[in-house]
Symmetry: C2
Subunit: 629 residues, 2 copies
């Protein structure tokens, strides 16, 4: 018998039935004690959870065992059911759960949180869990692991389009290691699900090529039998479990009211009596009172990234940064077996063609399904795969804004590499001009944004982020750019250059003022420097590749006449961050000019757009000269 056979949970039918009563009691108690939470759905899902955590290969004493089955609970508001199950099986302490639920000092937050033993993924915003499950299932395939992935989700959230995206992806990649359990209680917040929206869950799974099994979600024998079939049938399979919200307490059954409302004292008394469970909530109320008024320490799960960053490539002629990006990713994937990139039907444009040629197996092609792609990439990235998510800026940042916020909450190891940023996109116009690659990720605490200036810096940045655990955005434009050179003509970022996060690059020195510049605007600023110089005006040109972590020393030194230049929304970009930083440093420059976009730009050749929006070499120089007069 193998080690996991000994360690895993295995309950008899009688034990399961007994625990299903205990857990229902715990659900009612913890929501009562917290005076908050979701008892209704917890009671419809609880039998499935008990059966699943008993059936799956999970290990209370060794919860992060590399070979464990992954269980994702997508409807994270049924945290009372999840926590009571984990307590019943010894993953966590039962008293701590009941007393601490939803208290700031407790790890048992309102929605389930990655890092609690037995919880693989923080959920709460609905419709995200299946994508995470697909990510874990793909990670297993890449790692040649044969663990199984289970996703438990609600019927209400099945309406999210992202769910259908995830289903199709599972079918495309033949994820036979993926099983879904749908808690089909036909209740969502506003009433009966079938009245809220027309969603034929079974038909949609089948349209996406899944096998389906329908069962009674409160019958342990049926649940266990279905789990066995689903695990072994060689397909992604959905178990659609018909359940009753509030199951087990007569006055709660099939009542939308109890979706998100705990019982009051009398109701609790009555419910616990009906279940035959002792009412010991006073004990927990006392315990809760003793909890400190402070935030619990966050459990930040991560892994040591083992990766060979390979040999830097040196570019000596004009190259688009996206090619340098794609080239470096391909290099990494060739020499490391843990590097994978997720694409959304833009392989050629985001320059994954190098990777696709050299290691086609390392491209996960999701098509036009960005929400699902971003979420599954996040999940893969926490499961040992150094994951790049490549996309155009508008899709990889704007369209997937909340998916990345949730990745950030999950402390993922995701490398969001976006191309076609700024008006450098040109003719495709305003729907495609990504103008918030600096501003938007401010919402995703922990994400670092890097905007490399030329192909050499891009190459080094990609190798840097690959070996650092954590979330990064790397944003580049579309056009070819000359490698940046020193005034003597040698490469600025040469073969000895090492990227250091937070370092500003003083491309040109000058004492009359400074241009802080980023991304596709850098070549224009360098040319403006020449024009100014020809008029006897000496401005420094400083490349700010890390706009979130500004170098105070440099800022202090170069602050007499400050110009910021970016092909980015001027309301939330580099200029905005530098203004705030100088303000905090109590520095008021003699002059301060922010150049960038104030409105949605029109469509047109990028060169013309830089001209029209005041970001071309001539216009930058003119603006500066006009303020000197």
């Amino acid at each position: 018998m193998q080690r996991w056979e000994v360690l895993r949970v295995r309950k008899t039918l009688d034990e399961l039935k007994r625990l299903s009563i205990q857990c229902r009691g715990d659900i009612l108690k913890m929501t009562y004690v917290a005076n908050s939470g979701h008892p209704g759905g917890s009671m419809s899902s609880i039998d499935m959870l008990l059966a699943l955590y008993s059936f799956a290969n999970v290990y209370p004493q060794d919860p992060w065992n590399e070979d464990r089955d992954r269980i994702v609970i997508s409807h994270g508001h049924i945290s009372p059911a999840v926590y009571s199950t984990l307590a019943a099986y010894g993953f966590v302490d039962r008293d701590e759960v009941i007393a601490g639920f939803r208290h700031p000092a407790s790890i048992f937050e309102g929605h389930i949180t990655r890092g609690i033993p037995g919880v693989e993924w923080t959920t709460g915003n609905l419709g995200q869990g299946l994508s995470a499950g697909v990510g874990f299932a793909l990670a297993a395939k890449y790692k040649n692991k044969d663990y199984h992935v289970y996703v438990v989700m609600s019927d209400g959230e099945s309406a999210k389009g992202q769910v259908q995206e995830a289903r199709r992806t599972a079918r495309k990649y033949k994820l036979d290691n993926l099983t879904v359990l749908v808690d089909y209680n036909d209740i969502q917040i506003s009433g009966h699900a079938h009245e809220i929206m027309y969603v034929d869950i079974k038909a949609e799974f089948e349209a996406a090529g899944w096998k389906t099994i329908e069962i009674d979600g409160h019958d342990f024998e049926q649940i266990l039998a279905a789990l066995k079939i689903a695990r072994d049938d060689g397909y992604p399979t959905a178990i659609i479990a018909h359940t009753v919200i509030g199951k087990g307490v007569d006055f709660m059954e099939d009542k939308p009211d109890y979706h998100g409302k705990p019982l009051n004292k009398e109701e609790l008394e009555k419910a616990l009596a009906q279940l035959g469970v002792e009412n010991d909530v006073e004990k927990y109320l006392e315990m809760r009172k003793k909890l400190p008024i402070e935030a619990h320490k966050k459990v930040k799960l991560y892994y040591d990234v083992r990766l060979d960053t390979g040999k830097a490539r040196v570019y000596d002629k004009a190259t688009d940064n996206r090619s340098a990006l794609g080239r470096a990713i391909a290099d990494l994937a060739v020499i490391n077996d843990n590097v994978v990139t997720v694409d959304c039907d833009l392989k050629g444009s985001v320059k994954l063609d190098f990777l696709d040629k050299e290691r086609p197996d390392r491209v996960v092609e999701i098509g036009v399904q960005e929400h699902n792609a971003a979420a599954l990439a996040g999940a893969m990235s926490v499961d040992g795969i150094v994951t790049f998510f490549a996309d155009f800026g508008v899709f990889g940042i704007d369209e997937t804004f909340n998916q990345h916020r949730l990745n950030a909450i999950n402390n993922t190891n995701l490398k969001v590499v976006v191309t076609h940023c700024g008006i450098d996109v040109g003719e495709d116009g305003k729907t495609h001009h990504a103008l918030n690659y600096i501003g938007a990720p401010l919402a995703w605490y922990g994400f670092k944004v890097i905007v490399p200036a030329d192909p050499n810096q891009t190459d080094r940045v990609v190798r840097y982020i690959a070996e650092e655990y954590g979330n990064f955005v790397v944003a580049v434009g579309r056009s070819k750019v000359e490698p940046i050179r020193k005034e003597d003509g040698s490469l600025f970022f040469d073969e000895n250059y090492e990227f250091k996060y937070g370092k500003m690059d003083i491309l040109r020195d000058g004492t009359d003022g400074v241009i802080y510049v980023i991304g596709s605007a850098v070549p224009h600023a360098l040319k403006a420097y020449e024009i100014l110089k020809s008029k006897g005006v000496n401005f420094a040109v400083i490349n700010v590749s890390c706009p979130y972590d500004l170098d105070e020393e440099v800022l202090r030194k170069y602050s007499n006449f400050v110009v910021t230049v970016e092909d980015h929304n001027v309301l939330n970009g580099l200029g905005s961050l530098i203004a705030q930083k100088l303000f905090e440093m109590r520095i008021l420059p003699g002059r301060f000019i922010k150049l960038g976009l104030n409105d949605f730009p029109v469509s047109g050749d990028a060169k013309l757009l830089f001209e029209i929006y005041g970001l071309s070499r001539e216009r930058i120089a003119e603006t500066i000269l006009s303020k000197l007069e």
Copy 2:
């Protein structure tokens, strides 16, 4: 014969065949002249477009006729096909299209743009158009109009989950006035669609309760027959049209390469010869050279909002702002027939229950399908319906970030009203704490953000935004708040109060310093004022309900010791905007303290969270006092 019978386009089969050649020529010419654009898909869609604009009730001489059929082209990159069709039918000038395509000075942008006669909706980011079509179809129902709505879309974009959300919505609302045409050429950027992702378009339409018809998309008789069936069959119907990318030019057919690449000179010569079209591109190249290097004037379509704002409600006791919000929306809907609210299964929580009770017909219930909801709400709002989109902050802002960006691009008249903002959400935890309701909309140029401080101000704000054409975010918390009172105990926002956009409210005066505060933090700041006063420290408390348009006069006057307080991301919220504004005004306060959230908060009772994150009355006062020592 009615007027529209005379004015509309009606072509014979022979005329259609002739135009299908002319338009193919135009597509190749304009992409050649612009050296950019998407000829391949344009040539697979062109026959459908010609048939559709001929079949539908659209009026080249009266393009915005209120009774016109609405045509949405979802795959906006086939702009060459759309523009050539519009030119062929006299909506726009053919020479201007071919010479100006994708030039900054031309309205004929890279992706089709709302405002060009015959274009109802700006698209480009895929998978959005069907939601817009659903919005137009719903608007027709609300207006008791019997025009039809057509959506043309691609097979590749059918993978977007939002498309399935839109399909289900059409079925739920029995939108028999909606027809979809799918250009099924089986090619997307990276190759054959069926290889990129597993998408069974027909099965998914049918799973969502639609009728489907399959035809040859290059056979005018079949297209016209299908259009007639679809218009009259009493169902939302999808015409799945099998087509060939690059159709009409042998070397372009079924080649992904021509998705987004124009022909070179030799190829163009060859292609035009094959089509039997004269090669007159030199003429257009000359015309293009003469275009000025400037952005074209934006066509900003809007309508005069006619609306009775009703009688303001005055709240004299503690009420949650969301109830004041919901109450005011219900008031407006009762007395006006053009006010509709879109809900995402949160009716009770976002307090649409008033509306649901008094005018249930004015709640569009979309369920857990926020992307679709936001996009269809935007479309409804441009079609004469004053549309509220109600949601929790995390869904109405973060999850729908790009949908609102696209609404902004479309110059919609949308009122995004979000509740449960900030840590006032409390126990639901970080996935539900909306911390970017000020920061995120900076990306949606034109959107104004208003954060009312109490139920009285909330009431007036709702009435104000309803009658102003344009996009607004109104953000409120969850908890009950006392109406704000003057020091004499009378209501601050009393029955005579009128909301004025951009005005700051000086709630308390003081000369030792100032607290600029917003939203759910206001009651805490007012209490901090009392604590400070009891210690002999007099701080002004100023409510900033309009963080994007700060009052310079007030800022100048109150700038000695500045404290900003918000239960919002401190990196992109009120403190950040005030810092930048003061910096621009060249004012350095003696002290500046930004209070807000620096990281994802934990889950817990809102009162405890305000305490833990330094935003409670005591903590605000302590922080200020510690800096005075």
